[in-house]
Symmetry: C2
Subunit: 193 residues, 2 copies
Amino acid sequence: MSEIEFEKELKAERTNIPGMLVFDLPVHGDSRGWFKENWQRAKQTDLGLPDLGPVQNNISFNAERGVTRGIHAEPWDKYISVATGSVFGAWVDLRPGKSFGEVYTCVIDPSKAIYVPRGVGNSFQALEDGTAYTYLVNAHWSAELKKTYTFVNLADPELGIEWPIPLSECELSEADKHHPMLKDAIPMAPRRT
Amino acid sequence: MSEIEFEKELKAERTNIPGMLVFDLPVHGDSRGWFKENWQRAKQTDLGLPDLGPVQNNISFNAERGVTRGIHAEPWDKYISVATGSVFGAWVDLRPGKSFGEVYTCVIDPSKAIYVPRGVGNSFQALEDGTAYTYLVNAHWSAELKKTYTFVNLADPELGIEWPIPLSECELSEADKHHPMLKDAIPMAPRRT
Ligand SMILES: Cc1cn([C@H]2C[C@H](O)[C@@H](COP(=O)(O)OP(=O)(O)O[C@H]3O[C@H](CO)[C@@H](O)[C@H](O)[C@H]3O)O2)c(=O)[nH]c1=O
Ligand SMILES: Cc1cn([C@H]2C[C@H](O)[C@@H](COP(=O)(O)OP(=O)(O)O[C@H]3O[C@H](CO)[C@@H](O)[C@H](O)[C@H]3O)O2)c(=O)[nH]c1=O
């Protein structure tokens, strides 16, 4: 397992994708392992995190280094982190407007968390065997809602994502192998009000 | 890693501790690993889970088999589960009243989750190296609130907890080695309304 940096200060940073935030999380190490406030509503809303109001906490377990999932833009906001292991994350703005197609990438280890607004495509590649990826969302998933997702292909050269492990060597779902290229993707419709 | 049972039906069960619930969670396995809705507000409130309104998600990483934490009753409700690995959990009712001192134990792997009401003492022992324990709470932690906790000693023979790994061989925090026995514990004051 890669080394986690302990006792960072809680911090929020903006990215080139409007509304997306990258957090440094303090992780407290001791002889037992470590402890973190993975999400703390009061401290993080003070730093600009929207008041999430989560209704679901999802966890995916990625058995082997190289497991890659995405790119999915879903009709809810996500607050993403890892419990164990680490991932290379890649996000693509799929909202209509002038930031459409904007890409951001970074490594997430347990001392990071990412706020991904609705309409931003989400994907990641596990960098370690046994990586547990955990996220909070503010709307309930259902299989029927899949038709409202916007998908983009992980391998689209236009995105220029430099996956640490070549996708040809990676475990992907059948669905994720066949998503359209960015030029054919339909921007996600704005939230109905 | 022990085998996880996939595709169980979502189910809630009561225990001998009033208000405490044990959930079976469906875990979906595939070639990438697995995916679970670790908490799903709508489906689980239908099964009797109080509407949590979480404001914090905490994760502790337990480096080695045998790490043991507890017994802590805190002034908030907890919804507990594991992302990787497994734990032996033990709970002690520390609310004033006729269930004071009631004990419940079970193993939590990724296909289980536990609702622990405010005033019920919480503890666990990691059964595997690299166990990630994750929970949601409905009030914000602060160091000052520690004086409102009720603590009980993990080793109190009156509790009769049969720890899978003898506590003398386990990694514990200094604080957790010195908590009072049940007979000296002060029941947790009811929530102020
Ligand atoms: C998203 C979701 C999925 N499922 C079920 C459907 C499938 O049986 C299984 C896996 O679903 P898939 O659609 O393959 O999920 P996956 O490709 O991993 O992608 C999801 O999970 C990823 C994390 O694993 C997220 O980064 C993606 O945004 C999300 O779309 O879990 C649920 O039961 N609830 C859910 O919320
Ligand atoms: C509970 C909590 C703790 N902390 C900090 C204080 C310490 O630097 C570090 C570890 O705290 P400790 O008081 O040793 O936590 P620990 O013995 O693991 O017990 C807590 O965490 C356990 C899970 O690890 C829970 O089962 C207990 O109910 C909870 O009290 O994390 C936070 O920053 N936020 C928190 O919410």
